[in-house]
């Protein structure tokens, strides 16, 4: 973002003026959102986003002021994005919107079914007008399984609730074409990148298996197919087969990004396939081929880990979201298959057994906002759904009957960071493929990580840090093999605060490994921190402090550090253990979005969430294979 290549014209001027700027670093940092819904998504429309279309989404991302789809105020992003994927649900794509605008091209289903559809549409529009669309939305959500733990797709309780409108193919084709056209219009190589995409929304019996699918290719290719939806199949294997087939017939490249594993009911990163069969090398190869990235953090909570899974990690209790997407409430149950850290460890074990790691993925964050507005800024957060955009409507109930989620349980996060050669579809896709990406919960914290064995302590302070890193090591997302002398893994890391935001508290390395006898282990190392705090005997570090004035709310940068730049050597390295390392950077405490609402309403801190949070960043792992 901060390292735009000089344009040829400027270069000429510079040369003629004797002064010449060289390229500062080998790759540049780009910020984006790979997961954003607009009024073309049925659930967005039913929750009062009737006006923020893909065009609005791109305008917002580029920094232009736009109209909020629900509260109609003028809103603007604090720092513009460099790239965006508009990823509307494939299922009923654009259909509710078309019915509402009376532009739907619907099939003739015979007199009685047409009448039924007419009645359904009439009720639907009425509900949208009366702002009770949310209730209709709830009624098409899944219901809990009759046989928990089994194949959720085969469960008798599993049904798709979207059949009412008959054959909507024509309307969906029109919608897809409009979405693709908007992406093509807004793609400006070198300045702003739009990637064409959609969401495959498989959620059998409330087990969230959603994937965003995106392509670096253009509209000429995208218009040769229609997005694959969960109404075609709810099994991810079928999605991958479709991707393979479509790639063969149209030449379109794809990747799929799973998200909200935290509410997958133990299925997203399971030890078996969805059908309950053992994971084979073939399955693992297929999966990691199409799914090189995972969305670790978003508005519906953080999926890094959970206190029950990582009891020794003092920061594991971050933005938990214990609400399944279903009609009725059932208690939240933590499962190792629901979280990224345990999946990464599990992947090592599976690799040890079958030879391929299905969970060798890189990390990104994104919003999953349904407002057309990619907002991850605490003081400028415009809601999960359009209706959750004001203090009073955030307080209102959200999905399941009984114990309700609401707009205050939602988190104002996250973003995808990419180290790319330039800001183009090709370069960003290449970075996705090599996993040179990371996630933040909103702040633009810059992080470089290189793993190697020949780094020198002076390298950490070098001006040409990245050049050294790429020369002597591998960047995030990369691999290290065993070297002959069994030297320990070193990480050369540099993290710099968001220029506009809060200072940094600490930098940690999260290591996961599997011992030769198959035991799964994890450990969090404190590597760099602000102030003169000392590690205790157990390696723990005192809290950084808190400058937040909850009554305003605001914070001060009088604590914390502006940057960390250091070399870390694994003190517990065992050359025989398969391992991964990723870096986690924490900000000092700042006010959460709900606290701004509490102050505005003069009702104090909403009880749904704490007044302050420590925003963070997670890098893609680097793997060590003996």
């Amino acid at each position: 973002m901060s390292l735009l290549r000089p344009l040829p014209g400027i270069l000429l001027v510079s040369i003629s003026a004797i002064f010449c700027y060289a390229e500062e670093e080998p790759t540049q940092l780009l910020w984006g959102d790979t997961h954003l819904h607009t009024s073309y998504s049925f659930d967005a429309f039913l929750n009062q986003n009737q006006s923020a279309d893909p065009d609005t989404a791109y305008r917002w991302a580029k920094g232009l002021p736009v109209i909020h789809p629900y509260n109609r105020t003028r809103v603007q992003i604090g720092t513009p994005l460099d790239f965006l994927v508009v990823s509307d649900h494939a299922e009923l794509m654009g259909v509710i919107r078309a019915i509402n605008n009376d532009t739907a091209e619907l099939s003739d289903e015979g007199f009685f079914n047409n009448l039924k559809r007419w009645y359904g549409s009439y009720k639907l529009l009425d509900a949208i007008e009366n702002e009770t669309g949310r209730e209709i939305f709830r009624n098409i959500l899944p219901v809990p399984p009759e046989n928990p733990g089994g194949d959720p797709v085969a469960d008798p309780a599993n049904k798709l609730g979207i059949g009412l409108f008959g054959d909507t193919l024509q309307t969906e084709t029109t919608a897809w074409s409009e979405i693709v056209d908007a992406a093509e219009r807004h793609n400006q190589p070198g300045k702003f990148t739009s990637l064409i995409g959609w969401e495959w929304s498989s959620i059998p019996t409330g087990a969230n298996l959603h994937r965003v699918v995106l392509t670096p290719d253009g509209g000429d290719k995208a218009k040769q197919f229609l997005p694959f939806g969960s109404d075609q199949s709810q099994y991810p294997e079928d999605l991958w087969a479709w991707l393979e087939e479509t790639q063969k017939t149209t030449g379109t490249r794809f990747i799929a990004i799973p998200h909200n594993s935290n509410i997958s009911k133990g299925y997203m990163f399971a030890q078996t396939t969805l059908k309950g069969q053992p994971i084979t090398a073939e399955y693992a190869r297929q999966r990691i081929r199409w799914e090189p990235l995972v969305e670790i953090t978003q508005i519906k909570g953080d999926s890094e880990t959970h206190p029950e899974l990582s009891p020794d990690d003092a920061f594991a209790d971050f933005e938990e979201y214990p609400f399944y997407i279903q009609q009725t409430w059932t208690p939240y149950k933590v499962d190792a298959a629901d979280y990224v850290r345990s999946a990464l460890i599990r992947g090592l074990s599976i690799e040890q057994e079958v030879g391929v790691n299905p969970y060798k993925f890189g990390l990104i964050g994104s919003t999953d906002a349904h407002t057309g507005l990619s907002s991850a800024e605490e003081n400028n957060f415009w809601g999960k759904m359009a209706k959750d955009s004001t203090p009073e409507t955030k307080r209102g109930g959200f999905i399941s009957k009984g114990k309700n989620s609401n707009g205050w349980y939602m988190a104002a996060q996250g973003l995808a960071a990419v180290w790319a050669d330039e800001n183009t579809r090709e370069a960003i896709y290449a970075a996705f493929k090599r996993k040179e990406t990371y996630a933040t919960t909103g702040p633009r914290i810059s992080i470089r990580v290189f793993a190697g064995r020949d780094f020198d302590i002076a390298d950490a302070q070098a001006g040409n840090f990245a050049e050294i890193g790429y020369t002597k090591g591998v960047p995030m997302g990369g691999d290290l093999a065993r070297d002959e002398s069994n030297n320990p893994v070193q990480l050369l890391v540099r993290a710099v605060k968001d220029p506009k935001e809060a200072n940094l508290d600490r930098l940690q390395v999260v290591k996961g490994w599997v011992t030769t006898d198959g035991q799964q282990k994890e450990k969090v190392f404190n590597v760099a921190w602000s102030g003169d705090r000392q590690l205790d005997a157990a390696g723990a570090l005192a809290a950084v402090g808190n400058t937040v004035d909850e009554s305003i709310p605001s914070y001060q940068n009088t604590i914390g550090a502006a940057e960390f730049s250091t070399l870390w050597t694994d003190p517990e390295f065992d050359a025989n253990h398969r391992a991964f390392y990723y870096v986690r950077v924490l900000q000092i405490p700042t006010p959460r979005h709900s606290q701004f609402d509490g102050v505005a309403l003069q009702t104090g801190t909403p009880e749904e969430a704490p007044a302050t949070i420590q925003e963070r960043a997670y890098t893609s792992p680097i793997w060590y294979t003996p």
Partner: protein, 287 residues
């Protein structure tokens, strides 16, 4: 008789009657002039009422709910329906809807929504329209002032006397006519960038603080190093290669955005005109 059937007026009348009955059948709880004092309660009306009461519009679900409802609950639902319907009709006959601001706003909102339907009919924008729009709104596309420079940083943390260090560095830089490319060999590492190319004042402020931004934008571009200028992290010596004042761009530079804005403006106008056409149907007087 055949002649009569071929008569368009008769066809219209027959169709009209049919349409009327369809509306009567499919519109729930409509007040009909024929049944002003009679409240008809039947299963369909109760089911529809139940859906609104529960704010849940899944037909098969509400049907099942209705079927399995205990007798006393069904009785209560019926009583509640009758009560609501009676109150609603009485309110209408007393004309209570006439001066109700909430009902008025709701109807206005529905009309405004209808007016948006005219979007599709607006004419395509040609080049001349685009030019005119651009000239009329040129100020909106102003390009912010920007600056290009490279800097040598002297950190507060690493230097006990930053002023002294920076002054001797400045002499050295100018004596050796150090270029931007060679500048990396001097001073301390800065946490953000060394080169800033065509950056706006907001951007510079976020990386260096307001004081630095004010000072650096006051300096003129040149071949010699200038400073020191203080930031939040230390002091800086700068080599400014370029400075552009804020300016109005040519249409070709911003054509895409202007086109999108002009289209939006036209949609807004189309809606306003549609509403004006409705307003014009009315004679406005002050008595």
């Amino acid at each position: 008789m055949n002649k009569l059937i071929a008569e368009p007026l008769i066809q219209f009348l027959v169709l009209g009657v049919l349409v009327y009955f369809c509306i009567e059948i499919f519109t729930p709880s409509r007040v009909s002039g024929l049944s002003r004092s009679e409240i008809v309660v039947n299963e369909d009306k109760l089911k529809a009422y139940l859906q609104f009461q529960r704010k849940s519009f899944n037909k098969s679900q509400s049907e099942q709910l209705f079927r399995t409802m205990p007798v006393d609950e069904k009785q209560a639902l019926t009583q509640s329906y009758i009560r609501d319907e009676a109150l609603f009709r009485e309110a209408l006959s007393l004309g209570l809807n006439d001066n109700d601001e909430i009902i008025r706003r709701r109807l206005i909102q529905k009309m405004e929504y209808l007016a948006q339907g005219f979007y599709d009919d607006i004419p395509v924008i040609n080049e001349e329209d685009l030019n005119n729009y651009f000239l009329a709104n040129r100020d909106q596309y102003k390009v912010d002032e920007s600056i290009s420079f490279t800097h040598v940083f002297v950190s507060f943390k690493k230097n006990p006397d930053t002023q002294k260090t920076s002054r001797s560095l400045l002499t050295q830089l100018n004596r050796n006519t150090v270029t931007a490319d060679q500048a990396g060999a001097y001073g301390d590492r800065y946490l953000y960038n060394r080169n800033y190319i065509e950056r706006t004042s907001d951007y510079i402020t976020s990386h260096f603080g307001k004081g630095f931004q004010d000072a650096v934008f006051k300096l003129a571009p040149g071949k010699s190093w200038q400073g020191p200028i203080q930031s939040d992290y230390g002091v800086h010596l700068v080599l400014i290669t370029r400075k552009s004042a804020s300016r109005l761009p040519e249409l070709s530079e911003v054509a895409e955005q202007v086109l999108a804005d002009a289209q939006r403006e036209r949609q807004r106008k189309a809606k306003a005109e549609a509403i004006q056409n409705i307003v014009d149907k009315y004679k406005v007087s002050s008595t």
